[in-house]
């Protein structure tokens, strides 16, 4: 059996006295889409922040392709191949769409500081290559026509796409999507699902998806974990999860009650 792309073992995290994640395990193989659901405050985003190195885990280990990555700084983890989007859209307000995607090529840049200060021909060649890659990605995401727009002026759906294009530009081995459909209307929702499918199909990307809408999870994910109070309370295919009484009690029931 091949090595899993991402392996998380017995991960726990405390915020002061609050244990936000407890004993979390995960194994994602190449090209799998896994779902992560759970009520508000269950600890889903915290798990992403732990995997991407924003927080250092209180306990547990994380391996990327067999290499231990917990404890590394976030930009190292990202350049090793873990990319993500953010629940609340963290874009760079003064930068254009194209600049966003180019920026994510940062760790691949070879021309160095001297190239940056003195504009060597190696730099111009490399920047041209970066631009080409970036435009190609924008094309795939259907936002090439927005390349020179400042992100602040874009509609919400387009901003989500920029985030996904940017995340892909790092050439990740695994993509973590944190509620990519939050706040979207049905039309935007259909488009973003199509994009996720395409990313999965064309790039053969492994994806870990946090999602609130059962419809999205049902359609996209192979298996789903349900989190409540930081712990996994159920794991299985979307169909199994939907009928699991603990899940209904902890999550679906609560949602219906809202």
């Amino acid at each position: 059996m091949t090595l899993p792309v991402l392996q998380v073992r017995n991960l726990s995290h405390d915020f002061g006295g609050l244990r936000a994640v407890r004993g979390y395990n995960l194994e994602i193989g190449s090209g799998q889409i896994r779902g992560l659901i759970g009520p508000n405050g269950a600890g889903k985003t915290t798990i992403f922040n732990l995997i991407t190195g924003i927080y250092k885990p209180s306990e547990g280990e994380i391996f990327l392709g067999g290499k231990k990555i917990d404890g590394l700084p976030p930009h190292r983890i990202a350049s090793l191949g873990v990319s993500r989007t953010f629940q609340n859209l963290l874009l760079w307000r003064h930068m254009t769409v194209l600049e966003h995607v180019k920026m994510a090529r940062y760790s691949k840049i070879r021309y160095g500081w001297l190239g940056a200060f003195f504009g060597t021909s190696a730099r111009h060649r490399e920047e041209a290559g970066i631009e080409e890659t970036a435009l190609h990605l924008l094309d795939r995401m259907g936002i090439r026509h927005l390349a020179d727009q400042v992100v602040l002026n874009l509609p919400y759906g387009a901003q989500r796409r920029v985030e996904i294009a940017r995340a892909l530009a790092t050439e990740p081995g695994i993509l973590l999507l944190d509620e990519p459909t939050a706040g979207m209307n049905p039309e935007e929702l259909a488009q973003i699902m199509e994009i996720i499918r395409r990313v999965h199909g064309e790039f053969g990307m492994s994806i870990l998806l946090i999602e609130h809408r059962m419809k999205v999870v049902m359609e996209l994910c192979e298996t789903v974990q349900t989190l409540d109070f930081g712990a996994v309370i159920a794991e299985g295919t979307p169909g199994e999860i939907q009928n699991n009484p603990r899940v209904i009690d902890a999550y679906l029931g609560r949602e219906r009650a809202e």
Binding site: H75, F86, L91, W92, H94, A104, Y106, W113, G115, F117
Partner: protein
């Protein structure tokens, strides 16, 4: 109407404006003095007549007449009539490598400045100080604008550069009593002056580390305070260093920072800053400013980025300081205090954050305004802040903020040579 008058000018390439300006300043050199005499002015208005008009308001019409006759009308006429030949030349130049095209433009710009400043020593001095202000403003913009930290340590970096370069040039090339006999021939100094400036810049960069490292963990107000503390530490360090004569200051720097030297260093500074901020590595400054967490998640090494911004900004502040010391040929710790900080900050925020154009406009306008309003003495310090407040109200990020300087499109011909005119 005004639109129609302006229309032909929208097709003038940068080169055409330079030709117009060159004709105007040459005219002033040839006919300025007799014209001034004819108009009953004591001498030619040195800085566009501002101070003359403020001192003796009755001379206002004559000064304006002088400005029209010497600058505005000739420049406007030449620029307009010369638009199509200028476009032709610009188009021919544009086919050369960009370095050649840029060099020709810079040579022409220098010629304009040289001829204009040649009319009086005062102009040469003001011009050199203005160019140094451009370097300072731009280098501060790298930190405060492009990276969005509020750093107050700039005069400190400048002081490090000024003192380092001065100690080297005075110590090695001038027979100053303080440092003993000069060990190297002054003839050599001309060539080693750039080395002294670069070493001054590197010392300033080293100082930059002391602000860059705290910036890993703090932002905003706290970093502003840390950087301000750095400024005071540098100042009191120099005040207490007897071998640079403490508060009495250092004098006798050789006269090596002439106009061409300062001009060249300014060009180098603008060029390298513009290169930097337009590269993807340089855009990482913006990413760190706009959202550090996202920058990190997108593989940007945020610490390296912060260090680079501080060291690079401090380097140019240090070089500017070295030039300043050799223009004034005297520095003391008092040159590098809060007032200096306020001036540079004003230039950055007035001209515009995150913009090379903005820094140039800010530095030139505040420098010239400061000189022009000199006769008003204390009122100068009311007018400039008022202006700044107005800008902050109507354009909170400054006059020309968030604009890229694209050299290629700046130097492009504005119309095909055939159809121009």
């Amino acid at each position: 109407m005004a639109g129609n008058l302006w229309k032909p000018y929208s097709r003038v390439p940068l080169l055409g404006w330079f030709f117009g300006a060159l004709v105007a300043v040459t005219l002033e050199r040839l006919a300025g003095a007799p014209l001034a005499q004819f108009l009953g002015l004591q001498k030619i208005p040195v800085l566009f007549g501002f101070s003359d008009m403020l001192k003796t308001p009755v001379s206002i019409p004559n000064v304006l007449l002088y400005l029209l006759a010497v600058y505005v009308v000739p420049a406007a006429a030449v620029t307009r009539l010369g638009a199509s030949p200028a476009n032709g030349i610009a188009a021919a130049l544009y086919r050369f490598p960009m370095a050649v095209t840029a060099a020709v433009h810079l040579a022409l710009l220098y010629a304009v400045l040289h001829v204009w400043a040649g009319a009086s020593d005062y102009r040469v001095l003001v011009l050199r100080l203005t160019l140094i202000a451009v370097m300072l403003t731009l280098s501060l913009n790298v930190i405060n604008g492009y990276m969005g930290e509020f750093s107050c340590s700039h005069p400190g970096f400048m002081a490090l550069g000024a003192y380092c370069a001065s100690v080297l040039t005075i110590g090695l090339f001038v027979d100053a009593e303080l440092f003993g006999a000069a060990s190297l021939s002054p003839a050599l100094g001309r060539f080693l002056f750039p080395v002294a400036l670069v070493l001054g810049g590197l010392l300033a960069s080293f100082g930059g580390l002391f602000v860059a490292i705290p910036s890993f963990r703090t932002r905003g107000d706290y970093l502003a305070i840390i950087s301000l503390a750095f400024l005071f530490i540098v100042k009191s360090l120099i005040e207490n260093l007897e071998f640079v004569r403490g508060p009495r200051g250092l004098s006798g720097q050789p006269d090596w920072a002439d106009l061409p030297t300062v001009f060249l260093w300014t060009v180098l500074c603008v060029w390298s800053v513009n290169n930097f901020v337009r590269s993807t590595i340089g855009k990482a400054l913006n990413a760190v400013r706009d959202n550090e967490m996202a920058a990190d998640a997108m593989t940007v090494d945020t610490r390296k980025t912060k260090i680079a911004a501080f060291l690079f900004g401090a380097f140019w502040a240090g070089v500017a300081g070295g030039l300043f010391a050799h223009v004034m040929r005297y520095v003391n710790p008092g040159n590098f205090g809060i007032q200096n900080l306020a001036e540079v900050l004003a230039m950055v925020y007035f001209g515009g954050l995150n913009s090379v154009y903005g820094s140039i406009v800010g530095a030139v306008s505040i420098s010239l305004l400061g000189e022009a309003l000199r006769p008003l003495e204390i009122f100068k310090w009311i007018i400039i802040p008022l202006l700044l407040i107005l800008v902050m109200i109507f354009r909170p990020t400054g006059l020309i903020a968030f604009r890229d300087l694209d050299v290629a499109s700046l130097l492009k011909p504005k119309a095909n040579p055939g159809e121009g005119g």
